[in-house]
């Protein structure tokens, strides 16, 4: 246990601080004042102080374990990303693939939690999440291939280094196409409108989260907040040169731009039905991603 441990721990966990931005921007779009910046954290604090209720027929271990599974995956990915971006850690071979793998775990945790709680609405939400997962993974992976092809590496630090030297992936045709595909599939990964089918409040209460309460629900909320900053950072690293610019202000601006794009998409669309979402991912976004990959192979 030394200073570095605490520093790393702090930086892995601190990503949720960007979440209030979402609520504030949303409020502005909707002509509201919006909550104070600490509101999300106050909500979390309140949830952690509450009783945990476990439904009678649930499989208790899975029910309890699910939120932590998601959180651990997110913390690890947050750790890798910040290390590479802020402290120029060389990373390890294939860390990009590990990240892509880690990002499916929060969705899996949601699915497990929903099925474990043995509530018809939760099961419905979980099955929707499965369908959605099947939908967005394909365009997401294809689009991530574009920076890999362009930079010729599956190591994050090298991808960023290449972009610093040769310009961001985003500035090429294939890169911008892939960027759009990644933005939309990440939107679904984070479970935001128009792809919030799994938690559609007015349709199936909260889907997989219906039976959750207290600290366990708090962890799920925390996962959501973490995702809201870690995934934009991932997109930034893959497509826009990460935190590679000499001017840290520009880096932060880029990061916030991506965060705000997610918020804007979320506030200017109604929710899609799950079959429409699937069709959108498979027949539209996957095509765009494939075109991007082909263009990238052609060197554009």
């Amino acid at each position: 246990m030394n200073f570095y441990f605490f520093r790393d721990f702090f930086f892995s966990c601190v990503w949720e601080v960007f979440y209030p931005l979402d609520r504030k921007v949303t409020a502005r779009i909707q002509y509201r004042v919006g909550p104070p910046w600490y509101q999300s954290f106050a909500d979390l604090l309140k949830l952690f102080g509450k009783e945990t209720l476990i439904p009678k027929n649930s499989s208790v271990t899975m029910f309890m374990l699910a939120p932590f599974l998601g959180m651990s995956a997110l913390l690890v990915s947050g750790f890798i990303l910040y290390k590479i971006n802020l402290f120029n850690m060389p990373g390890f071979l294939g860390d990009l693939i590990v990240m892509v793998y880690l990002f499916t775990i929060p969705s899996l945790s949601l699915i497990l939690g929903g099925f474990a709680s043995s509530n018809p609405l939760s099961s419905l939400g979980s099955s929707r999440e499965i369908k959605l997962l099947l939908g967005y993974e394909l365009p997401f992976m294809l689009a991530i291939l574009v920076p890999v092809i362009q930079t010729g590496s599956i190591r994050f630090s090298e991808i960023i280094q290449f972009q610093i030297e040769h310009g961001a992936v985003l500035y090429s045709i294939s890169g911008s196409l892939a960027f759009i595909a990644v933005l939309l599939s990440v939107q679904a990964k984070m479970g935001l409108v128009p792809f919030d089918v799994a938690e559609a409040e007015t349709e199936i209460l909260s889907g997989p989260l219906t039976e959750y309460s207290g600290p366990l629900l708090g962890i799920f909320k925390l996962n959501k907040m973490l995702m809201f900053s870690i995934l934009p950072l991932f997109v930034l690293s893959c497509f826009w040169g990460g935190f590679g610019n000499v001017n840290p202000l520009i880096n932060i601006l880029k990061f916030l731009t991506i965060v705000v794009i997610f918020t804007l998409i979320r506030n200017t669309n109604p929710r899609l039905r799950v079959d429409q979402a699937l069709r959108f991912f498979w027949f539209k976004l996957s095509v765009i991603s494939s075109i991007a990959v082909i263009l990238a192979l052609g060197g554009m």
């Binding site: 007015t202 349709e203 209460l205 669309n269 109604p270 929710r271 899609l272 039905r273 429409q276």
Partner: protein
Amino acid sequence: MSKNTIIPIGPYHPLQEEPEFFKLQVEGERVVGVEINIGYNHRGIEQLCEQKSYDQVTYVVERICGICSTSHPFAYVNAVEDLAKVVVPERALYIRTIIGELERIHSHLLWLGLAGHFLGYNTVFMWSWKYREIVLNIFEQISGNRNHYAMMKPGGVRRDIDKEDIPTILKGMDELETKITMLKKAIMDDPVLHARLKGVGVLTKEEAINYSALGPVARASGVKIDVRKDEPYAAYDKIDWDIIVTENGDLFDKVVVRILEKLESIKIIRQCLKKIPSGEIDAKIKEIPPGEGIGRHEAPRGEVFHYIRSDGTNSPVRHKVRAPSFMNVATNNTTVIGTNVADAVIVLAAVDPCYCCTERLYVYQDHKKVMDANELIKLSQERTEELRKKLVV
């Protein structure tokens, strides 16, 4: 045969704030059956009205609905005037029309916002409720109240619309027109909304007639009914306006009808303010003769029907209220079948239901009333007590 899952919507569900219960039988995500249970509210309004004097009843029926709070008084005063054969002063009729149409605008805006919320489109929710404020402010200026305006009175209206208020109302209408046109464009051009709403929850013209659907629900299905035109009252026959009818009967058309009706209401209000004559606003009814009276009003949700029977005393012997949701909620029986669960909720909400206005409860056996309001209240209190004891143990 495979066993169907039951998805309960209600009695407490974030979809609607009122207690209602739709048992959806679901195969996968497709709805194959629906059971509608309403009747969670008992408020004893009709019974209460029979104990009040004619002037007080206006006050009571205003409380039937919080959203369309002038619809019931409007229909009620029509019924009383029908019963007493009163000629209402012209100016009062125009004021009633203005109030009724202003209410239609704010009620439809409220529904539009809620529909947005049901679709997860919270921006529409917030925006349309913000524009609703314009109407509410006008109401506050005219009547002093934002929601229960208390303008109706048998024989006339309670308050006059001041000359100084008219420019503000007109200004409000101009503002609303631009805002509603903007919303209309935003909604009609949104491809995602098209994908969600077009061809979903279709109520065919035939079914609309069979189920006796009313108001915007019927008009979206191509049934051209509107009490304001069919049996004109107030100043509706002196004004130039159209019934909005669309043909498809799907959710998208229900949205379109309601948006276009708002613009039509603005048109009516403008004409009323131009044509409004000066003079008395109250016919000052002295006494109510024995007899029967029927009053109808086209509320934002459809036709409101009031029936009054008098025996010449100070209060009605029988007062019957029928709210439009009573007819419209039943149409869910056909519209919801075959839709996706995701669509089912918005289909259920598309009739703009108002359960508290709809529900009545008496217990009859062999044409004799076996339970009245007080007994029902006692029953409910006992049940609550029982539940409380159970919860403590």
